[in-house]
């Protein structure tokens, strides 16, 4: 059982993030399954309820669960990897409070006020009067709070990486190293046979974390900025004057919004994931990363790539300039296949060099994560093509074979790999109760995630649209029943993992991560146990 009194501040902090993340994940998949059931029998929910849920589901999943787990893990890892103190423990605590409050408000904006412009918020839907000012205002405030939490995290991480704790280290080489530039310089030295290769200043996972965090700041700027616009509109409608939406060109808005939003998907997620893979591969194998200079350089290339790929979301927008579609939508996007492919190769080769390795939960889940991206990234490359996008855009293919494959299998399994790897470090060596449950978690999540995403992909190829209800039409019902079956496996996997973790840590331990229980209560609970 977990002895909370023996934990240091950083361990406790990371556990707080992890607990909240796993609870939000439970809410996300519950909503996912309700939507799934609705897709089998369209009489279950009113349209406004269904779409409000569809708006909340990814916000809770991405910011409440994925971001939360990533932030918690990085708050723990960055100081440990750099042998430094965290810059501010208070700001770190503030991060999870802000993120939880923000996600909670966004969820309420859908649940109570039926805000349902979905996470893309295409102009002018949010401000068009379709939703009440309360709904829009609550969503905007929630989103602003989430983005504030994101800024606080980024500031704290930057400060932890770069603050020099009294030493007089020059800033420029640290910054260059954090961007991966020394990886390029080393490659240049090797190729041109000029000079000696130098060991980079920053550990590779830190380069990935820093790089991902740059994109995180930019995406929070855009999403937060747009939310301020929403808040302005909500305020005026609340006061009885509705502002015209005509001041903002819908296509320009879409470009700006997707530029920011895509920094999450094609920027920080891919980069954070690559960083996590590298870290786990080195921890599991006990070896240096294979071709680490190339990996560093690839992270820098991914910076340029992630800023220039948003055009693949506008391939079906007929007024979008054709050169932008081809350059950003097709060509630069194709680079994602290369940078992700390099990350896959480097990770697998690092592990391969250390054969034989025991198949630990962390290794299993890491391979599951690599598998998820190996399936999801090429699906994205296919739809990022002028010809294919014409028949795939906004179908279930996009949200299934591409998005859920990457989110549930790729990102999800990578994060679980980190959870299983960090669990002993965060809990002072508490052992998980059941190996069988860990194995069940692995297989049920893997089969469920891949099965559901692939079935959605087939439904998409058969013409089923995303974000669309088909009342009275049973064309895609068999595919949705299969997707529901695989979805239930994901839920079963989650329950198995939660049971395993909670029974190993103890409910008391979990609560005490947040609040100190009175002695009497503790005694009562331990006698009950």
């Amino acid at each position: 059982m977990l002895q909370v009194s023996g934990l240091n501040q950083l361990q406790r902090l990371a556990l707080r993030f992890a607990v909240i993340s796993l609870l939000f994940y439970g809410l996300t998949i519950l909503e996912g399954m309700i939507m799934r059931a609705h897709q089998i029998n369209f009489n279950m929910l009113d349209a406004d309820h269904y779409f409000a849920m569809m708006g909340a589901h990814p916000m809770v999943g991405i910011f409440g669960s994925s971001f939360m787990l990533v932030f918690g893990a990085f708050y723990f890892l960055v100081p440990n990897l750099m042998n430094k103190e965290i810059y501010s423990q208070r700001l770190a605590e503030l991060t999870w409070i802000l993120m939880t409050a923000g996600v909670g408000l966004v969820w309420l904006s859908g649940f109570v006020f039926r805000y349902a412009a979905l996470y893309t918020n295409y102009w002018p839907l949010p401000v068009s009067g379709e939703f009440s000012p309360m709904a829009l205002g609550t969503f905007a405030v929630g989103n602003i709070i989430i983005m504030t939490g994101v800024f606080v995290f980024c500031y704290n991480i930057f400060a932890t990486i770069f603050h020099r704790q009294g030493e007089q280290k020059p800033m420029a080489p640290m910054l260059a190293s954090a961007f991966g530039i020394d990886g390029f310089i080393n490659i240049y030295r090797r190729v041109m046979r000029k000079g000696v290769e130098k060991e980079p200043i920053m550990p590779l996972p830190i380069v990935a974390i820093f790089r991902g965090t740059v994109d995180t700041v930019l995406d929070a700027l855009v999403l937060g900025g747009i939310s301020v616009v929403f808040l302005f509109h909500a305020f005026y409608s609340f006061m009885g004057t509705s502002l015209s939406a005509g001041w903002f060109d819908a296509l320009l808005y879409k470009n700006i919004y997707w530029w920011g939003l895509d920094l999450i998907a094609d920027g920080l997620v891919l980069i954070y994931v690559a960083g996590t893979w590298y870290l786990l591969a080195t921890i599991i194998s006990g070896k240096k990363l294979f071709m680490q200079n190339i990996a560093r350089a690839a992270l820098l290339v991914e910076l340029i790539v992630s800023w220039n790929v948003w055009g693949h979301h506008l391939l079906s927008d007929q007024s979008q300039p054709m050169w932008m579609k081809i350059l950003s939508g097709e060509m630069v996007t194709a680079f994602e296949l290369i940078t992700m492919g390099i990350a896959v190769f480097v990770t697998l080769m690092t592990l391969w060099q250390a054969r034989p390795l025991p198949m630990t939960p962390a290794l299993k889940f890491l391979l599951g994560g690599v598998l998820g991206f190996s399936l999801g990234v090429p699906a994205g490359i296919i739809q990022a093509d002028l010809g294919m996008n014409r028949i795939l855009h906004n179908t279930q293919w996009v949200i299934g074979a591409h998005a859920h494959m990457q989110l549930l299998v790729g990102l999800g399994m990578t994060l679980y790999a980190a959870v299983y790897a960090l669990f002993p470090m965060l809990t002072n060596d508490v052992k998980l109760k059941s190996n069988a449950l860990t194995n069940f978690h692995f297989w049920a999540h893997l089969i469920g995630g891949i099965g559901m995403s692939a079935v959605m992909g087939f439904a998409g190829m058969d013409g089923m649209l995303r974000r669309t209800v088909y009342p009275g039409d049973t064309t895609f019902q068999s595919e949705m029943i299969a997707a529901a079956f695989f979805g239930s496996l994901i839920v079963a996997a989650y329950l198995a993992m939660m049971y395993n973790i909670i029974s190993s840590i103890g409910v008391k331990g979990l609560v005490e991560v947040f609040v100190k229980l009175p002695e009497k209560m503790k005694q009562r609970e331990s006698t009950a146990l």
């Binding site: 779409f51 349902a116 054709m322 034989p356 090429p378 974000r467 669309t468």
Partner: protein, 203 residues
């Protein structure tokens, strides 16, 4: 001419093969990684070969579709294409305003759909009777949204908004409103349609 249904048929096969290849490779890797084995000798060469493969795939997909999928070139050149028939459609307040009660098209004719939105961002998609998609585009307010297409298979097609425009948006569906006819049929149906329209106008 290759049709979108054929492209999808092929894609399903390719996707299944791809899934099987990736599963097998990962399965083999996972089994072998737990066993002892010799050092990987030519890892560097393998790496550059891998990157080469990725580059070729990334670029190759676009070259292939540019050459094999006809609507890519139609789309790029659509401003210069003279369509045999043109339909101007408006969407407002979650309703299609169609120029005619039936959008009649002669098989093999190049048609232009020009769709304007008066309020939200919508989509415009044409679907076969079995629910599969012929094509779609976005309909953005304040922008020109036009697409040219050549229908090769006679039959009835439905139109539907393919972009989320709010909870009411799913109702934006008109069943079997596009009708593609063979040359013979077309002359008869077109005449009938015109006569009907005249009667309406006179009324």
């Amino acid at each position: 001419m290759i049709e979108s249904s054929q492209v999808m048929g092929l894609m399903k096969v390719v996707y299944v093969i791809y899934l099987l290849i990736v599963f097998s490779l990962m399965g083999m890797y996972a089994m072998k990684i737990t066993k002892t084995g010799s050092e990987f000798q030519k890892a560097n060469i393998f790496f550059y070969g891998w990157v080469g493969l990725l580059v070729c795939t990334g670029v190759g997909v676009h070259i292939l579709t540019f050459n094999k999928i006809p609507w890519v070139k139609w789309d790029i050149n659509r401003a210069a294409i003279n369509a045999e028939r043109e339909f101007n459609i408006t969407i407002a307040d979650y309703k299609f305003k169609l120029p005619e009660e039936r959008l009649l098209i002669k098989k093999g004719d190049m048609v232009r759909f020009d769709i304007a939105s008066e309020d939200h961002t919508y989509g415009f998609g044409v679907f076969r009777e079995d629910g599969s998609m012929v094509f779609q585009m976005q309909v953005v307010p304040g922008s020109r949204n036009d697409i040219v297409w050549k229908f090769e298979s006679p039959g009835a097609y439905s139109i539907r908004s393919t972009e989320y425009s709010g909870p009411k948006g799913s109702a934006l569906l008109v069943k079997n409103v596009v009708f593609v006819a063979t040359e013979k049929e077309f002359a008869r149906l077109d005449k009938e349609l015109r006569q009907k329209q005249d009667i309406y106008k006179r009324r």
